[in-house]
């Protein structure tokens, strides 16, 4: 009966939270969910059949293109003034989203999370932040440029984003799937790199962080081998030639500040690396427990020329 009581408390909490206009930040304890989800099973997911059919208006209400002649029952979704360009895959409780919102004010940032409870928490958190900062003088501080939705990105990433739409992708503290048998369920695999390369624009970057050294090595291995001759699909050795991703040099722990001061591309890397090291919920937890953090960043190169063009 304990579980039922818990559920009851949860529902009560969320109802009152909604009634109060979501002004207070939600409490995590009412949104706990098991830390793992099976990416292969058919969840009750909602996703657009194609990116063109995605209705972003509930997520970014401040960025909808005003329709000069609104037609009721228009099936076409309302267009955004600019496309989403930053994706936090597996955003968890949304610490990174909230940290990025004022730091990347010109980008639309989307968090994708597979667990329903956690997604709801992030949604409530964002709406609370928006309510609290509605009066902010600058448009930068109003948290209108972040949103979160529930999705299984391993399956449905191309349903949300078109080719070369994203300029930044974050994979922060992904489920390590320790057993070799479960490696296919990892968010980085030789075959999934193809989808990440598809949605990232040339020059766009993937930021990865984990506290599991073996997983860090695995992710680096997959990204580095991807696209190399003999390294196709990633599992078959390192390969030779030029891959699709190149590793970006990073500031050491504590050096981010000097990078930020230098500004430019280096400053941006420093800023984002500091964000994923210190602002993610999981990053804070690892610091608390005295764990290590392994960061690596990869920049996407342009697609290779077709064999007939060489």
């Amino acid at each position: 009966m304990k579980a039922a009581g818990k559920r009851q408390k949860r529902e009560d909490y969320r109802r009152t939270h909604k009634e109060q206009g979501n002004a207070a930040l939600p409490q995590k304890k009412f949104y706990r969910q098991r830390a793992h989800a099976n990416p292969f099973s058919d969840h009750q997911l909602t996703y657009p059949a194609s990116p063109a059919l995605m209705d972003w208006s509930p997520y970014y209400p401040a960025f909808i293109t005003p329709d000069p002649q609104p037609t009721p029952n228009d099936p076409a979704p309302k267009a955004l003034t600019k496309p989403v360009t930053v994706a936090d895959i597996g955003c968890g409780f949304g610490g990174l989203l909230v940290a990025l919102a004022p730091r990347l004010p010109d980008e639309l940032i989307l968090g994708l999370e597979i667990r329903t409870q956690v997604t709801e928490y992030v949604e409530d958190r964002i709406s609370a932040l928006r309510a609290q900062h509605a009066a902010a003088s600058s448009s930068d501080g109003r948290y209108q440029n972040i949103a979160c939705l529930r999705a299984n990105t391993m399956k449905f990433l191309p349903n949300f984003f078109t080719r070369a739409q994203l300029s930044l992708m974050f994979l922060c503290f992904p489920d390590p799937h320790f057993k070799a048998r479960k490696h296919k369920a990892r968010i980085v695999s030789g075959t999934l790199c193809a989808e990440y390369a598809y949605v990232l624009r040339p020059g766009g970057c993937v930021y990865t962080i984990t506290d599991v050294e073996e997983l860090a090595e695995w992710m680096r291995g997959r990204f580095e081998a991807f696209g190399k001759v003999g390294g196709e699909g990633g599992e078959g050795g390192e390969g030779s030639g030029v891959g699709v991703f190149e590793e970006v040099p990073l500031p050491g722990e504590g050096e981010e500040g000097t990078w930020v001061d230098e500004g430019g591309e280096k400053g941006r890397v420093g800023l984002l690396v500091r964000c994923i090291r210190e602002e993610t919920e999981e990053g804070k937890k690892v610091t608390r427990n005295g764990g290590k953090k392994f960061v690596s960043v990869f920049r996407r190169r342009a697609d290779p020329a077709w064999p007939d063009e060489v």
């Binding site: 990416p39 292969f40 058919d42 969840h43 009750q44 997911l45 059949a49 194609s50 990116p51 391993m154 399956k155 449905f156 191309p158 349903n159 080719r163 390590p176 320790f178 070799a180 296919k184 695999s189 030789g190 075959t191 999934l192 790199c193 193809a194 989808e195 390369a197 598809y198 506290d211 599991v212 050294e213 073996e214 997983l215 991807f226 696209g227 001759v229 196709e232 699909g233 990633g234 599992e235 078959g236 699709v244 690892v286 427990n289 005295g290 764990g291 290590k292 697609d303 290779p304 077709w306 064999p307 007939d308 063009e309």
Partner: protein
Amino acid sequence: MPKRPCAIVLTPDDSTILCADKFGDVYSLPLMGRRYETKAVNGIDANGTNGTSDRNQKQKPFAPSATSLTVHTKRNRDALRQQQKLNETKAEKKALNFDHKLLLGHVSLLTDIACVLRASPSQKLRNYILTSDRDEHIRISRGIPQANVIEGYCLGHTEFITKLCVPPVYPHLLISGGGDDYLILWDWRAGRLLQQLDLKQLVATLRNTHLGAEVVSESSTTKDTETQVDSALRICVSNIQALEIEKQKVGHPGVEIIVTCEGVPALFTFTLGANAQLQFNATIHTESNVVDLTVLRNQNSVIYSMDNCHQSWSTDVSSDTASQSPRGLMGSPSYCTDSKTWKENQVLQANLVAATRECADSYSQISQAGVAHGKPLTDLLYGLESLRKRGSDNETEV
């Protein structure tokens, strides 16, 4: 193969097999591949000496990748302690002993694969791989050796896809079908949907006349567009084939597209013209449910096989007249280029009957032995419907 293959295709240069599997991966295998001696796997290497000690040196001792810094709960810590105690090398998975290479992968069950050559803007032939999966995606990748580059997606289906068909004369077009109500015609390189054709309507029309049981002339069934579509009716395309019609006169080559659905006793034929539009041509009624279909390119004909174990329109109710004539196993309509209609090919049919009679005799002996009955037989003949997501059923009911 590592997992159950779902579809295989040869590359256009006939040198390589592409194999799409249940795990979502596509492997390439040379057609004339070599099989390696299984070395070291059996513990004895090529020299005949016992290779186990050698192998142990090569393999790294098993070390759990989790550390006490990464797991925190009591149970996980216990599990980690157990693993650290158990420092034995785990049995490595047996390596495949033939040439194979992982080309690309979906995180979904793959259902079909096609390999197409298309001319580039500079008139050079380019190779593409098209893959379809259970999660409504059709992925367009470059061919070998750049299969890791995704060129685009054809997105528009709302259920699993079962079949891709690229007509050889019109390699820029793609026809796909599956568990939703539509056939879709694509300009696949642009990922552009050209035409959505309501197949369920055709099936429903046919089914209503079947259920009505009264004599309705064939012409009225095909023209009747205002049919009540049973909302519970689910269709599942089992095959799409393109048949190039031999040119009689100068002009664009005509292509007939023949479509079959699971548990439906009919072939649906469409004409694909140079205007890149599919036009419904005719419904060919068959004696019982169609199981499979192939085309005879030089004879303007198709051959289909039928299920004589189940009643028409049903995938689980067995037929009362199980011992039908072997005529009930196959059929072969031909396309008549003059009248632009389909009719039965008498000569081919007679040959088929003769050829299948022997098989049918042995088949009846097998079925008497009770090899497959009931559900196993249904799964064998109509396995595609099981791809439908159960979650989506609940959603429609709620």
